[in-house]
């Protein structure tokens, strides 16, 4: 089973790397890009567990390890193949 967890800064947290990327895009002429926020993608390959177990495991892994919940938020999904 494949799953994906996305981690990015909470909206209230300044993201200077995202800003730098946005400015670079503007320099290259992409004025239509108003804002950029940078995050991380974790692609997980899970063994033979039930969907219910996965739905328990993924947010736990996300909140406990992959994201620092003081400054980051996360979203998770099971990828249908």
């Amino acid at each position: 089973m494949k799953a994906r967890i996305l981690v990015s800064f909470k909206d209230s947290v300044l993201d200077p790397q995202g800003q730098a990327v946005r400015n670079a895009l503007h320099t290259l002429g992409y004025a239509a890009v108003r804002d950029v926020r940078q995050g991380k993608v974790f692609d997980l390959e899970l063994g033979d567990i039930s969907r219910a177990e996965a739905e328990r495991l993924l947010p736990e892994v996300a909140g406990k390890v992959l994201a620092n919940v003081v400054i980051e938020k996360y979203a998770w999904q099971i990828l249908e193949d």
């Binding site: 200077p16 730098a20 400015n23 320099t27």
Partner: protein, 742 residues
């Protein structure tokens, strides 16, 4: 001749028909594709030195303090008290053009391994970087990537980057140079070499898993760049400094406990190199099972496994009874340690894959019998003497010229670079970056190690022999200025395509100049690196020999630094001014030209000047010392002001009958500007006189401006604060323009 491999395959492997015929002769049959790959990597220029061996024979490699000269992973010099230094410089030029961040990062990783594989804990890094002019965004991008790459690897692994140099010139635009130097400390009786010792010993693979990275990286370094450079991107490896840190600790632990026989890092040509060089040194052979090699990708072929340049891997030879302890030590650091084969007699490399022998070649053929070429060379044509003196008109505003020189990136402050490097970790850095040499204290003793990287592509481009000599002279002068005597040399020789006679001639002449310089100073070259093919679409770099010279400081409390220490000190000039414009930064920045013979190098004068300074330092007389280089005396004096915490200025006067711009900005060699308390000036001048060195008091420190008179006229009058801002802001300004402000 009917062959298994057609011309296209040979070309891909960078082997000529003649080399192929020789291989067939040496192994008694035609090689299969995997064996061809092995020869391709090991007989590449980068690994075999086939174009340079013949000319490198001239280098002085023996001295009483040399424990290990060229031929091993790094050179070793005895520094007394049972300690040795292990050091070397390596280039990673071609990968840094393809992928600046990873190219530079893996360059650091590679040189670190060359040092700790011999049993030394790495304690210092330095880098010599050359880029094209910063007004071109691509050059800025390359510089940013390279500096970040070095920073990320060196900082993570915890070895301080304490010095180096950065130069800018158009010739490096498509061929940036990234030369990385590393120095480690070891105990004299705990040095480890690449050897297998006896049949029956075990061969262990330790470190990261093998993937498909960098296959044919060695061959890439042996070719010019052309239009298909983009396609070479997958050839650059990705470094993992965390893994290497674990590797350092685990390797040093097994060495400390003496539970291994020999060890070699897997660098260029990966597993191939270590499985041939180690047994070759001991007159043994090796048999390995490729299926046992830890792999991180599925379905790798023998060719890929043997030629992969995945980073952070070592090969260890150990006695069978030592194997369990070695495995346990690596397991503690969460590293793979797998027995993949054993040492044999018979002198052959045999590799098994899925039960079948897929490689069976004599190791000496691979390691020792690559032909050494006597490539045709043409004596370099050097510009006529004094031709450049007339090239530019006499200036009208000398202060303005100083402003422009201070703002020139080659001369400007490099803090933008070295602030990204942790230069304090390990708490041994006694002299922080920014001066001509870096200094480490040796814990538990009064001694210190001074080190510097120096080279001048412009001088070498105009006259390679002089360029070679100048590199030695300047490096030793930089060491003298902190109070150190040179004890050993490593060289990185960056040149164009050696198949062109002009380039081969430059190489020959530069090595001759280098050798002459080293012999004069009584120092040996303990190893180094040759980087050829630094050409893109036919345009070559200036011949750029870069030297890493290490010096010994007898008393760490007596090191001298370049900044003025107080007002009212007497400024003394050792050496003579002459009209030396050729190859100067002044001529390039103001005159837009680079013509004329470079400054003369008088090695006897050079030594006498440095000995004068060293004696004065030993007598405790010297308050500051700095040597004029790019930008000449005016820039030298400015640097002394900038390095003084209060930004003290000076008042200097020169009255020789020379062009004033030669006095102020010319780059005559064998000169040092030092300061002493007025009552000690007489003694310094006397020391100089007994050594036949011209010396005179040229002014005093003090005030808030740089004021220099030539022939009675005040030609330079620049407030230090203004000069300092220009010098500090030059490089950051190039990068600020493309970022948002904070």
């Amino acid at each position: 001749m009917n062959t298994l491999h057609d011309d296209a395959v040979l070309a891909q492997h960078n082997l000529t028909r003649d080399e192929y015929a020789l291989i067939v002769k040496l192994i008694g049959r035609e090689p299969n594709l995997t064996e061809l790959g092995i020869f391709s990597a090991m007989w590449s220029e980068h690994c075999s030195y086939k174009s340079s061996k013949v000319f490198l024979k001239d280098l002085p490699t023996k001295a009483s303090n040399v424990v290990q000269g060229p031929g091993e992973n790094a050179g070793i010099i005895d520094i007394g008290d049972g300690q040795v230094i292990v050091f070397k410089i390596e280039s990673h030029n071609h990968p840094s053009f393809i992928e600046p961040f990873q190219g530079a990062a893996t360059g650091v990783g590679g040189i670190l391994r060359d040092i700790f594989t011999m049993g030394a804990r790495p304690v210092a890094l330095m880098d010599s970087l050359r880029f094209g002019p910063l007004d071109n965004p691509r050059n800025r991008s390359i510089m940013e990537g390279v500096v970040s790459g070095i920073s990320s690897y060196g900082n993570s692994i915890g070895v301080p980057t304490i010095g180096g140099e950065v130069y800018f010139d158009e010739c490096y635009s498509l061929n940036p140079l990234v030369n990385v130097f590393c120095l480690g400390l070891a105990e004299k009786d705990k040095i480890f070499y690449a050897k297998t010792e006896a049949p029956g010993n075990a061969i262990l693979y330790v470190g990261a898993k093998t993937g498909r990275d960098g296959i044919h990286g060695a061959s890439m370094a042996s070719q010019e760049f052309g239009e298909d450079t983009e396609a070479k991107r997958p050839n650059v490896q990705v470094g993992d400094p965390f893994k290497e840190k674990l590797l350092v600790e685990a390797c040093l632990e097994v060495m400390e406990r003496r539970i291994i026989i020999g060890i070699q890092d897997m660098g260029a040509a990966g597993l191939t190199c270590s499985t041939t060089e180690m047994p070759a040194k001991s007159g043994n052979g090796v048999e390995i099972d490729l299926d046992l090699v830890p792999q991180r990708e599925k379905g790798m072929t023998p060719y890929e496994i043997l030629l992969s340049e995945s980073q952070e891997r070592m090969l260890i030879a150990a006695r069978p009874d030592q194997v369990p302890a070695v495995k346990a030590a690596f397991a503690k650091w969460d590293l793979d340690a797998v027995e993949i084969g054993k040492v044999t007699d018979g002198g052959r490399l045999k590799c098994r894959f899925h039960g079948e022998i897929v490689v069976d070649v004599p190791v000496t053929a691979v390691v020792d019998l690559c032909p050494a070429y006597q490539r045709p060379w043409k004596e370099p044509v050097t510009p006529a003497r004094r031709a450049a003196a007339i090239a530019i008109p006499l200036p009208t505003n000398y202060t303005d010229i100083l402003r422009r020189l201070l703002s020139s990136p080659t001369i400007a402050n490099k803090e933008w670079v070295y602030r990204q490097y942790d230069h304090m970790v390990q708490t041994n850095t006694a002299l922080l970056p920014g001066g001509g040499a870096a200094v480490l204290r040796i814990r538990g003793s009064k001694k210190g190690l001074a080190m510097t990287l120096d080279g001048n592509g412009r001088y070498a481009g105009l006259d390679p022999r002089t360029g070679g000599k100048a590199a030695v002279a300047e490096a030793c002068r930089n060491l003298a200025c902190v109070g150190a005597r040179p004890i050993g040399v490593t060289n990185c020789l960056n040149f164009g395509n050696p198949e062109k006679p002009e380039v081969m001639g430059q190489f020959k002449a530069a090595v001759e100049g280098l050798s002459e310089g080293c012999r004069a100073f009584g120092i040996a070259v303990t190893g180094g690196n040759v980087s050829f093919y630094n050409e893109t679409e036919g345009l070559a770099i200036d011949p750029t020999p870069v030297l890493g010279i290490v010096g010994l400081v007898e008393d760490i409390d007596r090191i001298v630094t370049p900044g003025f220490k107080g007002a009212g000190d007497t400024v003394i000039l050792l050496g003579d001014n002459a009209e030396d414009f050729g190859g100067t930064e002044y001529l390039e920045v103001i005159g837009g030209t680079n013509d004329g013979p470079p400054p003369d190098i008088d090695l006897d004068r050079e030594i006498a000047v440095q000995e004068t300074l060293l004696q004065a330092i030993t007598e405790g007389l010297v308050r500051s010392a700095n040597d004029p280089s790019e930008g000449g005396l005016a820039v030298c004096a400015a640097e002394c002001a900038f390095h003084s915490p209060e930004k003290i200025g000076c008042d200097l006067a020169f009255d020789e009958d020379l062009r004033p711009d030669a006095v102020l900005f010319g780059e005559s060699q064998a000169r040092i500007l030092l300061t002493v308390r007025p009552e000690n000036a007489r003694r310094v001048l006397d020391i100089a006189e007994t050594r036949g060195v011209p010396a005179r008091a040229v002014g005093t420190t003090g005030g808030a401006a740089l004021r220099i008179r030539v022939g009675g006229k005040l030609l330079v009058d620049l407030p230090v604060a203004e000069a300092y801002r220009l010098w500090m802001d030059a490089i950051p300004n190039y990068f600020a323009a493309t970022k948002s402000s904070t």
